[in-house]
């Protein structure tokens, strides 16, 4: 009959194994934490990009499809008035303190994605008030919409930049 090896592991072998496992765990911890942070930043990027794409498409489609009948009036650096045929649509940048900043276009108000708050309770993702502007060059009939998003982790990496000539027909 076969006899089983019932010697088991020696203390030295066990100790070496524990030391190796501890070293591996410590070295892996930092890597895993880094990846977790990277993954969070990636999901933030996706949210901002989706927001930017939807809004840009909505505005651009309106202008491209109705180019001949679009009239624009600049009310201020944060407000543009579009007259598309019989319809009036207003593009407004709303800077808020107690809720996320918003970009409203026509009947729809689009609050910026909630990507966390700082210690004071302010929303991390904001519209840069100094750099962003809405402009209309009446002489050449060119619209320029420049909205910069700021975030503590992403900086000013994301922006909406629309330049549309109205008379290219």
């Amino acid at each position: 009959m076969k006899t089983l090896n019932q010697k088991g592991l020696t203390t030295i072998e066990l100790l070496v194994c524990f030391v190796l496992i501890s070293i591996l765990s410590v070295s892996m911890y930092e890597t895993v934490t880094n990846y977790k942070e990277k993954q969070q930043i990636e999901s933030m990027k996706t949210e901002i990009t989706t927001y930017k794409n939807l809004l840009t498409k909505e505005i651009q489609d309106n202008i491209i499809q109705n180019q001949k009948i679009v009239k624009v009036k600049k009310e201020s650096n944060t407000m543009l008035n579009f007259t598309i045929g019989n319809l009036t649509k207003v593009l407004v940048l709303n800077y808020n303190n107690d809720k996320p900043d918003e970009i409203s276009y026509g009947d729809i108000t689009n609050p910026l994605p909630d990507l966390g708050k700082d210690e004071r309770g302010n929303y991390d993702l904001k519209i840069d008030r100094e750099k962003s502007y809405l402009d209309y060059d009446e002489t050449n009939q060119i619209i320029e919409i420049y909205i910069v998003f700021t975030h503590p982790d992403l900086g000013e990496k994301y922006a909406i930049h629309i330049v549309d000539p109205l008379t290219l027909t």
């Binding site: 076969k2 072998e13 794409n53 651009q60 060119i142 909406i160 330049v163 549309d164 290219l168």
Partner: protein
């Protein structure tokens, strides 16, 4: 006779050697995959929504304007560089729109080439050591498919490739491409 089984298991040294080998292999894989992440970040500005619409307006401008000279795209040259002064100066409105778009988008280069990018791709790869094109543009063209047809489904003969500086991040350039049906020569 019953065969006796070897039930000694692995020695500690054997296990350690295998562990070291596994670690070495993993680190080699990691160092090879890491640059791909950088590549992905670079591609964030390839054909994004802003650059695509920018290319669309330039395409419209080129299709609707009268150009002063024929496009120099033939056997000796696979591309032509477009600038606003190629628009017939009697059409001041379009020339002004072109200059305004150029300025507002911080356009660096606008190339027109054949719809089929095979030759242009070969040319950019061959000239990668020279300074005809920026490194960014060469990488962008490399990432594009060849579109290996003479014309598109919309009968577009040409292709426009736009390179411009991002307004919110001047260290980075955005790239976009769009088909162009044809050009009118005065």
């Amino acid at each position: 006779m019953k065969k006796k089984l070897n039930s000694k298991g692995f020695a500690l040294v054997e296990t350690m050697v295998v562990s070291v080998l596994v670690v070495v292999i993993l680190s080699i894989i990691y160092t090879n995959i890491y640059p791909l992440m950088g590549e992905y970040e670079k591609r964030e500005y390839y054909d994004d929504i802003d650059s695509k619409y920018a290319a669309y307006w330039f395409k419209l401008l080129i299709q609707k304007s009268e150009l002063t000279t024929e496009l120099n795209i033939n056997n000796s040259s696979v591309y032509d560089t477009f600038t606003c002064d190629k628009i017939d100066s009697s059409d001041t409105k379009k020339e002004t729109i072109c200059q305004e778009l150029w300025k507002k988008y911080n356009v660096l280069n606008l190339y027109i080439t054949n719809y089929d990018l095979t030759k242009f791709k070969q040319f950019t790869e061959q000239s990668s050591h020279s300074e005809i094109f920026t490194r960014g543009l060469i990488d962008y063209v490399f990432s594009l498919p060849t579109y290996a047809k003479k014309v598109s489904l919309n009968n577009a003969k040409y292709r426009l490739i736009l390179e411009y500086q991002l307004k919110n991040d001047p260290e980075k350039n955005a790239y976009s491409t769009i088909e162009v049906k044809g050009v009118k020569i005065k």
